[in-house]
Homo-oligomer: 461 residues x 3
């Protein structure tokens, strides 16, 4: 320590140029939509987007800012960065996503019309960036993260356009567009930024007692609000309600399964907080695409059972193997929570779509799969599967390219020894926590004896 | 320490068998209801259950997973277990509750039809299990908790059926079905599992500074969302809104009263975090049954005043007495937050129902008390009171029976000395916290002197 | 230490008298409104206040109790007081606000009719009190805070009446009525209560690592739910949705700007948690008045850019200057988060109102500015500006008067040396945290060496 990076030039400059660009482009392109423009008539009573979407939007908003932010506070000395960089790059990403998604999807007479659904979609896109952040957590500067966000939002929007408009797949909860893409993007970035010096475990790349509890705040808000995430932009009515129900039961089953597997792989049956914090959520990722389909409640629970199993085993076996054999460092294990479960979600969606029929969906088959209107009889499953593969490839290729941009040695990355340490980029209060490493078990035992001897003599004050 | 239990066999086995049973039963019985089945027509605009219930459901969901979970993190070394076991048993309970409640209330042509209201009711039932968990917090293994959840959900559903379908009482906020039943159930379980070895206070059965703040996260989310809890399944319209208003003012008054009493029973007028974390909520428990009645806002505040008083005094005097004289150990003091206030809620509901008349309710008397349709002129108050007594008895008897099941020495319970300690069932990071016990006040004073002497000489780095 | 105040007489007495007064006045005045009274017909389907307001209310409720409460936990030894006193005075304030606002705005046949909107408005008023609390955080007793709340709610309601009913300005998000008034009120109180003994920085008037993370819980819930805050009482329909959109983009831009400025004023470009916790929110305060106007999305972002800049610079330069030259101690820097941004919000609202025309608002100009109905052609901008000035003056004068009431030496204020210390008013667990101050960097370095030497020899247990 002692030679922390100085980013007083880079951070303000890059962030200011990006923010200025946003404001100018908003000035040129962004206008209120019909449900927010004062000069437009109000939506019919009981039918406004606000009524059907706003509560869900707020839930998604909490997932993005508190959920992802606190989930990453598990590191002992990286809490400021986890929650702070999450805050910064999500705030930037939602602006840029409004523009990118607007150009692709909501352009009318050369203007982007924004409403409540724009906010949800912008938050979704930001989630994808935060997933990638999880892979490189502790090893990147905020400048790198802003640049990554800029490019990732751009590529995300292209990929989303390919899936939703060209392949015409459905992906309500974003298994493919958000999780599979974002996850593999992050893993590719991390591969390019590989730091051999961190091969041996870094002393600060682990949790302490309280940081694990902070992380549970993130986990639980993600878990509780995921039914809103997977249904936030579903077609109103039965599809939206079904997406909620499917996600709810998937998560319940996934949580029980995670505890089963976590206990099973420990020599005395203990549960591991890493598993509880992450694998409990994998089912919701994997049910994202199929959530609004007729997956059935027990089908949802089977998804939870499978993903809880695979994700927990992934944390135990795949993450170390990825680092050892493929040189992919993955701080939060996003491979097991987003990348792989997201791809599974694509497969599950493809299977569920392939077996969709009027017997199950009745006259509303076309409401759930609107592409059938234009292309009757198309292979729904095939196109869904293509969407998953495209997302995976776009993530890997995009992440690799962006990784090389981030590798330029001008973005203020910290040295290996200062990784996973808030002091690199934050004013940190003087005391506490560092102390925690310093008392060894031997000293502890000794002091404990002393303490027990002295305690009865201490007068209550 | 050193001989922590090994539950590598029991936990995975019991949890897997239970989860497998859930999936099979869901496969046989559970289907989407009319508002979530793709083949059914949509509800009329502005009239869907989603619109009236979903925001409330999400609030209840937060109460169950973050509210109860974090409220119990107040112990210094039991945060993983508090929030983790809460997560596990709630996730299991909502599945089993869907089935049990479905068989009793939503069976149609041999199938259970689930919708948004099913999720709310399942969460309600899980809350009852979590209440009982509070009594035995720190002294049970996760295997015992899963088994308790299985039986408690079963008995809960029977009791709920007796109250709602046989006695035809109303209990929107669950004072009787959830709190009174769950509270006395937990106390009975704890009585059967009495550990004489813990009679003398365990060194870890208390809070530390940060754990008390974590617990406030739980308290506040419970407190803030309780208006949603008490109104989540009320009849839509005026009843639902009234339940919100009554709960809001009850809680406001209860919080002020709790501070009054807490200060009054301390020798220099300090407030006690235990009271603030718990007694502030007792009013909402006690207003649960009457919340949708014409209790009036000032009536609600009187409920808050009385319960804030009784609950705080309960923590000060009743909880220690229960342990001393009745051998009931009650870690979270659920007697004062759920059991007793829940029974009071039954009484308050009975009184409010007894005085209900068309003068107050107008032509809508039957909307609020639907049992009058079938049984005009029945003693509303008498039946409500019967519901409270039945819930109390079912809780005591059920808890006693289940307690004996949990007493079998095969469920991996920790030894007395390892109680209130996460290391028994969790992989815990190496350092921190344990240290905290070891520095005595005497040493502290000494070191502080040293610190102040040295501080000016430390160069800023 | 050792001579902590004893408030066993004052706190219970003052709080009980106030609570008793509330219950009596509620009994005399408060009744259910038409949407919560059982004898009244239900609102038309899809048109109830519940549907349009309840989710927003719950968001505001979270901001008041968790947002403000946790934002103030940043002090190392004042977390119980921050979250606990916040809880107490907010609970009292919402009761008194219901009465005061009811007398001014909702009196019908001598009765105050309460509904969902009453709860929102009561929470708004409580927010104003909590803002003032931020200025004196750590230096007042709970008795003083209750008395302050009583008078501040009273004066708030008078000021609100002047603005909304006499000047007929609009102020949906309360830039003027809540933030400008509450902020200057708190600064004036703090000026009167000036403690010269705390001129030199108090050792406990700063954060520690974990307390800064707790504070981020407050920041983020305020930030995420602020779109609900600014739209919670907007006219339903396009105005409400527009207020959401404007606040969302203001906050995004303000957060990026705060990081830019925070980095720019540090010698090696680090970000400061104080700025991130507070200045990121300043934009939302300043957009409160104009949120429901046609500010445009890019206009909102410019507001965020300006306020993020001014607020961060305020924390760096104005707060220390206020203390040094004007003897205004401002623990949370509410000058930079509420007082000044609130006044800016008044100005921004005045400008936006001044340029409002039918070209932009169409036939709905009068929906957004209802005062035009009675006074066609009035100077909207002039009246809005008058509202800001009145709020500022009412805050300063009211705060000064109330400050003198609080100065009586009978309210149990702590001595200078016991400021910023929970032990003055709370039962605090014995161990932890105090320790944290005692290990100097020099010792740390030494112990770290020891630890690294010993670590490999410690057997895993």
């Amino acid at each position: 320590m002692g030679s922390f990076p100085n980013i007083r030039l880079q951070l303000p400059l890059v962030a200011f140029l990006l923010e200025l660009l946003m404001i100018i482009l908003f000035g040129v392109f962004v206008r209120y939509d019909d449900e927010s423009d004062a000069s437009k008539p109000d939506a019919l009573t009981g039918n406004s987007t606000f009524l059907y979407r706003y509560a869900s939007f707020q839930d998604v908003h909490v997932m993005v800012f508190v959920g992802f932010g606190f989930l990453m506070t598990f590191l002992q000395r990286y809490g400021f960065s986890a929650v702070g960089f999450n805050f910064l790059i999500a705030s930037f990403s939602i602006q840029w996503a409004t523009l990118m998604q607007g150009w692709f999807h909501h352009l009318k007479d050369g203007k982007i019309l924004v409403g409540v659904e724009s906010l949800i979609n912008a938050d979704f896109c930001a989630a994808s960036v935060l997933i990638a952040f999880g892979a490189v957590l502790g090893r990147t500067s905020p400048v790198q993260l802003l640049i990554m966000a800029f490019f990732q939002v751009t590529i995300f929007s292209v990929n989303e356009y390919i899936l939703l408009n060209l392949l015409e797949v459905i992906d309500a909860g974003g298994s493919m567009t958000i999780h599979c893409f974002g996850g593999f993007f992050g893993l590719a970035v991390s591969r390019v930024l590989y730091r051999p010096g961190l091969k041996k475990s870094h002393p600060k790349a682990s949790s302490v007692y309280h940081s694990d509890i902070f992380a549970m705040i993130g986990t639980l808000f993600l878990w509780m609000y995921w039914p809103s995430f997977n249904s936030a932009i579903s077609e109103r009515g039965v599809n939206q309600t079904r997406a909620i129900i499917n996600t709810y039961y998937t998560l319940a089953s996934c949580t029980v399964t995670t505890c089963i597997l976590s206990s099973l792989v420990d020599e005395r049956g203990r549960i591991n907080m890493v598993h509880l914090q992450n694998s409990t959520l994998a089912g919701a990722v994997a049910v994202g695409t199929a959530a609004e389909m007729m997956l059935t409640p027990y089908g949802s629970m089977i998804v939870g059972l499978i993903l809880g199993t695979l994700s927990t085993l992934g944390y135990k076996f795949i993450t170390p193997a990825l680092e050892k054999y493929l040189h992919v460092q993955d701080t939060c294990g996003i491979h097991n929570l987003h990348a792989f479960p997201g791809f599974c979600g694509g497969i599950i969606g493809a299977i569920t779509a392939a077996v969709a029929s009027e017997a199950t969906y009745g006259s509303r088959l076309h409401h759930t799969f609107p592409s059938l209107d234009k292309h009757p009889g198309r292979s729904l499953g095939g196109f869904q599967m293509a969407g998953a593969v495209v997302s995976l490839c776009m993530g890997l290729v995009g992440g690799t390219l962006v990784g090389f941009v981030l590798k330029f040695p001008i973005w203020g990355a910290a040295s290996d020894e200062d990784c996973y340490e808030d002091e690199a980029y934050w004013e940190v209060p003087e005391e506490e926590v560092t102390l925690i490493h310093t008392v060894t078990r031997k000293e502890q035992a000794k002091e404990e004896t002393v303490a027990y001897e002295l305690e009865p003599q201490i007068p209550a004050h």
